[in-house]
C-alpha cells in the first residue's frame, strides 16, 4: 500500500529537485566553464553587438578555410545565414517593371530567393535527419546557411563583371566563378556535415547538398543586370 503512494509522491519531489539544481548553477559560478559565463546586463550595447559580430565573422572565416568544425557545429546561430540570404536575395531579385519590357527581366522575386534558401536548407536538413544523421536541426541549417558564403562571394564578383560590356569570354568567366563558388560551398558543407551520417549513406546525404548549392549557383550565373 505504501509503494503505490510513494510512486505518486516521487514525481513532484523529483521535479522540484531539478528546478533547484538549475537555479544553483549560476550561483556556483563554475570557473572552468565555457565563455558564456559573464554578465551582459551592464555592458554597453556596442560591445554586445561587436561580440556577436565577431562570432559571426569568425564563423565566416571557418567556412572559407574549413579546418576545424567545433565553432560552427557547437555554437550555432542563424545570424550569418540571415545576413547572407538577405544579401543574395537583394542582389538577385529581378525588376518586376513590366512597363518597359514585355515580361520584366525574368529574375526571381526577393521572396522567392529567400524562401528557396530557407526551405531548401530545411529540406536538405530533413533529408539528413531521415537518413539517420545525428545532429540537431538548427545545427545543420546553420552550417548550410554559413556555407552559402562562397556562393555569395561569387555573386559579388559576377555582379562586378556585369558592369562591363558582356561578351562570350566574360560569360565563361562568370560560369567558372559561379561553379567555383558551388564547389567550394559543397566541399565545406560536406566537410562539416559528412561525419554525422552513418557509413554507406554519405553519398545520399551529400547529393541534396550539391543540388541545393547548384540551384543557387545557377541563380547566380543566370542573374543579369537589368
Amino acid at each position: 500500500m505504501t509503494s503505490f503512494d510513494a510512486k505518486y509522491d516521487m514525481y513532484p519531489a523529483g521535479d522540484v529537485g531539478v528546478v533547484e539544481g538549475e537555479m544553483n548553477i549560476p550561483n556556483q559560478g563554475v570557473p572552468s566553464g565555457n565563455s558564456m559565463e559573464f554578465n551582459t546586463l551592464d555592458e554597453p550595447i556596442k560591445e554586445t553587438f561587436m561580440r556577436d559580430l565577431r562570432a559571426v565573422g569568425s564563423k565566416f572565416f571557418h567556412v572559407l578555410i574549413p579546418r576545424e568544425k567545433t565553432s560552427l557545429l557547437k555554437e550555432w546561430d542563424l545570424w550569418g545565414p540571415l545576413l547572407l540570404c538577405t544579401f543574395m536575395a537583394t542582389i538577385l531579385q529581378g525588376s518586376s517593371d513590366t512597363a518597359n519590357t514585355k515580361i520584366g527581366d525574368g529574375g526571381p522575386e526577393f521572396a522567392e530567393v529567400f524562401v528557396l534558401v530557407w526551405i531548401g536548407a530545411g529540406i536538405v536538413t530533413l533529408n539528413s535527419k531521415l537518413l539517420g544523421g545525428n545532429m540537431s536541426f538548427f545545427q545543420s541549417v546553420c552550417v548550410l546557411g554559413y556555407c552559402l558564403l562562397p556562393v555569395a562571394l561569387s555573386l559579388v564578383i559576377c555582379r562586378i563583371i556585369l558592369f562591363a560590356t558582356q561578351n562570350t569570354f566574360l560569360f565563361f568567366l562568370r560560369f567558372v566563378i559561379s561553379m567555383t563558388g558551388f564547389m567550394w560551398a559543397t566541399l565545406a558543407a560536406t566537410k562539416f556535415l559528412g561525419d554525422s551520417q552513418p557509413e554507406g549513406k554519405k553519398g545520399l546525404a551529400v547529393y541534396p547538398i550539391c543540388l541545393f548549392y547548384f540551384i543557387l549557383s545557377w541563380l547566380v550565373l543566370s542573374h543579369n543586370a537589368a
Binding site: M1, I103, G104, G106, L126, N127, L130, G203
Partner: protein
C-alpha cells in the same frame, strides 16, 4: 483497506475471484492495463519503433505518424542500393526478371523517388531556361513543387517508389531537350516514354499477367507516359512552329517541316 476507489474498481472488475484478493493488485492491474492499451494502439500502427524506444512510447503514441522516426524506415537505403536501382530503371535488361518482387517490394524507399523528382523539376527548370535562351525568347518559366505523399499501404508505397525511379530517365532527356531541333525533341519524347514505361511494365509483368486487362493496362501505361513526356516537352521546351520559322534560319526549317 484505506483506498477510496477500491469499491469502484472492484465493481468494475468483478469477473474473477483471483482479481479480488487485494485491492492493490487490482489498482496496479488497471494502471498497467491503461498503459498497455496505449501501447497496443501504438503497436498496431508501427511495430518497429516500439522495440527501439520503449520509454517515450506512451508520450508519442498518438502522434507517431508525425515523428521523423516513422519515416526513417523509408530512407533506410545505402548509396550503392540507390545507384543500383537508378541504373536498373534506365537499363531494365541488366537486372533479373523478378527485380521488383525481390528488391523493391520488401524494402521500398522514398529517397530515390523524392530526390529524382526534385532533380527532375530543377533540371527541367534549368534546361528550360537554357532552351529559352537558345530560342532568343525571353520566356518566364514557372515551376512549383508538387509532391504530396500519402502513404496508405505498403503496396502503394512500393509502387510509388518504383514509379519515382522510372522517372530518372527524364533527367538526361530534359538536358537533351535544350537542343532546338524539333525532330530530335520528339524522338526524345518517344524514347523517354518508352524507356520509363518499359521499365514499369517489365518490373510489374508478373503482377500484370494475373489481370484480365493485361493489354489495356500496358497500353494505358505507355499512353500516359507518352502524354507526360510530350507535356513536359511542349510546355517547357518547345516553340510553336510559326515562331521557330521566323527565328531560326533555313538550316532547321527543313527539320521542322519534316516533323510537322
Amino acid at each position: 483497506m484505506s483506498y477510496v476507489n477500491t469499491g469502484d474498481l472492484l465493481n468494475f472488475q468483478d469477473y474473477s475471484p483471483e482479481h479480488n484478493r487485494t485491492a492493490r493488485i487490482d489498482v496496479e492491474a488497471v494502471h498497467t492495463n491503461q498503459y498497455n492499451s496505449g501501447n497496443s494502439n501504438f503497436n498496431y500502427e508501427e511495430p518497429k519503433i516500439v522495440t527501439e524506444d520503449e520509454e517515450p512510447a506512451p508520450k508519442s503514441g498518438n502522434h507517431n505518424f508525425w515523428t521523423i522516426e516513422y519515416y526513417q524506415k523509408y530512407f533506410d537505403v545505402h548509396t550503392n542500393e540507390v545507384v543500383e536501382r537508378i541504373i536498373s530503371s534506365v537499363l531494365p535488361q541488366k537486372v533479373s526478371r523478378n527485380y521488383f518482387d525481390e528488391r523493391i517490394k520488401g524494402k521500398p524507399d522514398l529517397y530515390g523517388p523524392i530526390w529524382i523528382s526534385v532533380t527532375l523539376i530543377f533540371t527541367i527548370a534549368v534546361s528550360g531556361n537554357i532552351a529559352s535562351y537558345l530560342q532568343n525568347a525571353n520566356k518566364e518559366i514557372h515551376w512549383r513543387y508538387d509532391f504530396h505523399l500519402t502513404p496508405e499501404s505498403p503496396t502503394m508505397m512500393s509502387l510509388f517508389c518504383l514509379y519515382g525511379y522510372s522517372l530518372s530517365i527524364y533527367i538526361p532527356v530534359a538536358i537533351l531537350w535544350t537542343i532546338q531541333v524539333s525532330w530530335l525533341q520528339w524522338l526524345l519524347v518517344l524514347l523517354g516514354a518508352f524507356v520509363s514505361g518499359a521499365v514499369l511494365i517489365f518490373w510489374l509483368l508478373p503482377a500484370l499477367r494475373k489481370s484480365k486487362y493485361f493489354l489495356v493496362l500496358i497500353a494505358s501505361i505507355l499512353a500516359f507516359h507518352f502524354l507526360l513526356a510530350a507535356g513536359f516537352m511542349l510546355y517547357f521546351f518547345h516553340v510553336p512552329d510559326n515562331v521557330t520559322t521566323v527565328l531560326t534560319t533555313s538550316t532547321t526549317a527543313k527539320a521542322i517541316v519534316n516533323s510537322a
